[in-house]
Symmetry: none
Subunit: 439 residues, 2 copies
């Protein structure tokens, strides 16, 4: 197997990066995507909205790399000058593209406003020699030019637009060039409710064995949504690489067990929705500390109204009684952060919304304690038929102790609630070892 090595550089354009007003998440995202298609990134650069420096950065990157990907500087304002810098780089004029102008005007007209901001027309400009990469997520298109032996792609700095243009226009093109003779496959196993140190402890022997052989390999990534185990394999053809990935996948799952909830782009809310739809079941949410985050997660995926009917945010204690029917005696005896309160919230919302399941959260988001319970103390409850049945009622409560700041505790509590419903729907243990994610 002879791998063609494609060398890439990334240039992020924008004075706000140099001032630290924003963190360069685009570069990291591109790094991951390029690695996944087998393209090596040698260097990344951040440069301000300064034409001379932008051109110089392009010039030097093109002298070293096969592929240069730039982000930023394609918006409508006067300091968005990537178009002009590219034209200077390749020695051509900037021209206004009539198709882009027509599309911009049509988009504007559809927005219902009357006075077209002429600045916007800058987004219809392109270097005369540039190919247009249409933007499925916004207004400013991407651009592609050649300079010397390098191909230069310029993408908008808005993360969502940058990603969509990459997916539509760059991904397959780069994978095709990089993959000649070699197939690099990777798969991410997504986990929830387990520490990174526990993952690495359980996989230590497997990791050492794989590292000694060199291919396939595993790596751990601590993401906002749980620890990810990435399996990568190189081979001469797709089937061989896939077989290698499958082999490691099975071994990792045997070691980690049911904390693995999905692969690659799977999300916990997407997995839960699929399980609900498969079971012909519905759910309603009853939230205290999460304040709506659980409902927002359950309604993330298009078409989620088939499974998620809605719910109640009972943020103050009185609302737990009037909107969910939790006994006020129970609340005054125990406070709101209590397993029986969680159970009553789940049962109450299930009854009021007429859904198969009710899913509830109550706890202390922080930063300070509440009723003598420390920040991060969270009770979750699910009420509905027992696993594998569609009749009967079983309510289970799970206590989790989460660390991190207020936002993190609320996010982790939401994930833990989704995981509880996943476990019920999948017939897994509903109170596994303490739920925690390293913060």
């Amino acid at each position: 197997v002879k791998a063609t090595t494609i060398r890439a550089e990334v240039i992020a354009i924008g004075t706000e990066l140099l001032l630290g007003d924003i963190v360069n998440g685009n570069a990291a995202w591109l790094g991951r995507e390029l690695a996944a298609v087998g393209v090596n990134v040698d260097q990344m650069t951040e440069v301000g909205d300064n034409r001379r420096r932008i051109v110089a950065a392009f010039e030097v990157a093109c002298s070293r790399a096969d592929v240069v990907i730039a982000t930023g500087g394609l918006g409508p304002t006067q300091d968005d000058i990537t178009r002009e810098a590219l034209a200077e780089l390749t020695g051509v004029r900037v021209v206004r593209d009539p198709d882009l102008e027509a599309a911009l005007r049509a988009r504007f007209a559809a927005s219902g406003r009357t006075e077209f901001p002429t600045n916007n027309l800058r987004m219809a400009d392109r270097p005369e020699d540039a190919d247009i990469l249409l933007n499925p997520a916004g207004t400013a298109p991407g651009l592609r030019v050649r300079h010397g032996n390098a191909v230069v792609y310029a993408l908008p700095g808005v993360p969502r637009e940058m990603r969509e243009i990459f997916r539509c226009h760059l991904h397959d093109e780069l994978a095709a060039v990089a993959g000649q003779g070699t197939v690099l496959l990777s798969r991410q196993l997504r986990t929830t409710g387990i520490w990174e140190s526990e993952v690495s402890h359980r996989l230590a022997d497997l990791d050492a064995e794989l590292e000694a052989a060199g291919n396939p390999t595993i790596a751990y990534l601590a993401s906002e949504r749980g620890i990810v185990v990435r399996i990568s394999a190189k081979a001469g053809d797709h089937a061989s690489a896939a077989a290698m990935v499958d082999g490691v996948d099975a071994r990792v799952r045997a070691l980690l067990g049911d904390v693995v909830f999905g692969v690659d782009d799977d999300t916990l809310e997407g997995v839960v929705q699929r399980l609900l739809l498969d079971a012909g079941a519905t759910v309603a949410s009853a939230e205290s500390l999460t304040g709506g985050l659980l409902g927002a997660a359950l309604s993330t995926v298009p078409g989620s109204s088939a499974a998620y009917h809605g719910g109640v945010v009972a943020y103050v204690t009185a609302a737990k009684t009037h909107a969910l029917g939790v006994s006020s005696d129970l609340l005054s005896a125990r406070g709101a952060v209590d397993p029986d309160v969680a159970a009553a919230m789940a049962a109450g919302v299930r009854e009021r919304f007429g859904t198969t399941y009710g899913l509830a959260t109550t706890g202390v988001a922080g930063p300070t304690e509440q009723d003598g319970k420390p920040a991060g103390t969270v009770y979750l409850a699910v009420a509905g038929p027992p696993a594998g049945s569609d009749a009967g009622l079983r309510t289970s409560v799970r206590l989790v102790r989460l660390s991190g700041d207020r936002a993190r505790v609320r996010e982790l509590a939401t994930q833990a609630a989704l995981d509880l419903l996943r476990r019920r729907l999948s017939g897994l243990a509903e109170d596994p070892p303490p739920f925690s994610i390293r913060t």
Copy 2:
């Protein structure tokens, strides 16, 4: 006032940055710190654990800048090679520092472990010409060398250690050189509900005038939460710089009007909470397409239960009737995406939760249309006393047309709902020109 301009570059070292396994938060942090002491960062670079490329990156940065700050590559493992690269850069040997070695061994002994990992001794190495910058937060010290006309600082990549060494050893040294007679102040004006192109259009003349004079200046940042206008000023003392910022602040507000909702770290939800508390008022949320995001926003800030009591996610149509009392005749005649439905949701949740205000969202999140209405069509409603009054009931509805994918539409709808309540509480126009944020 004559400002001494110190030009800096930042070099972050580590293959994990190029693979996107971590985001380069260190660079952004350094960017902010350097801007605050009046040092201009011209360029940032990320390079992998490759000695030739690290040396080349140092060489070129030193040829352009007065100060070069590197992060990463100072740990104990074989791929930590910043020490060796610096020695190659300045043409000296790497030597083992006996004081550092003694400190390492003492630190290890204090940890209670028995077998000293010899790799750790790499952290006692330094280029022969390097000054040691002791690490108050960890093991690996920082290093300082001179090359050509530049001073090079090498700091560990662990964020906490990097920050502590910067604070102890670099901050005052750089501030002293950069700040000879100069104070740099900046303020961010945060807006909502206005396009970036519209901001730059309205500020074009002011921007041109300021740019011609050079100080103070304004810049625009498109963030996920709205467009930000940053005002920066340099002067010989704090009072003069503050007066310059205040002067531009007033001119920007005069041109942008009430779309400016706050400054610096203000958030829309934080501003709304403060307005509610100031008015002694409370709010409940009734959500359809936002699915809980509005409640989550209203409960973001610690102590928000004093103003936010909770709400209902009426995700399916039937829930709008059973949980909020919206007329089923109205719903079957008009569908759920309708101004009168929004108004009835706001009024219904206000009544059920007994709050001062009810705030409602209904609309089409997408990706597909609903009841003949295109994705992005959203009605928002607020029910409660008229502005400036605490009695009476006035319900107003705002139609917004949002662009972007499903997640973006839901997020923007949440922001627009918060903005509607902000406008009611502040006595501002409740139906300003169409709400939109460039996506």
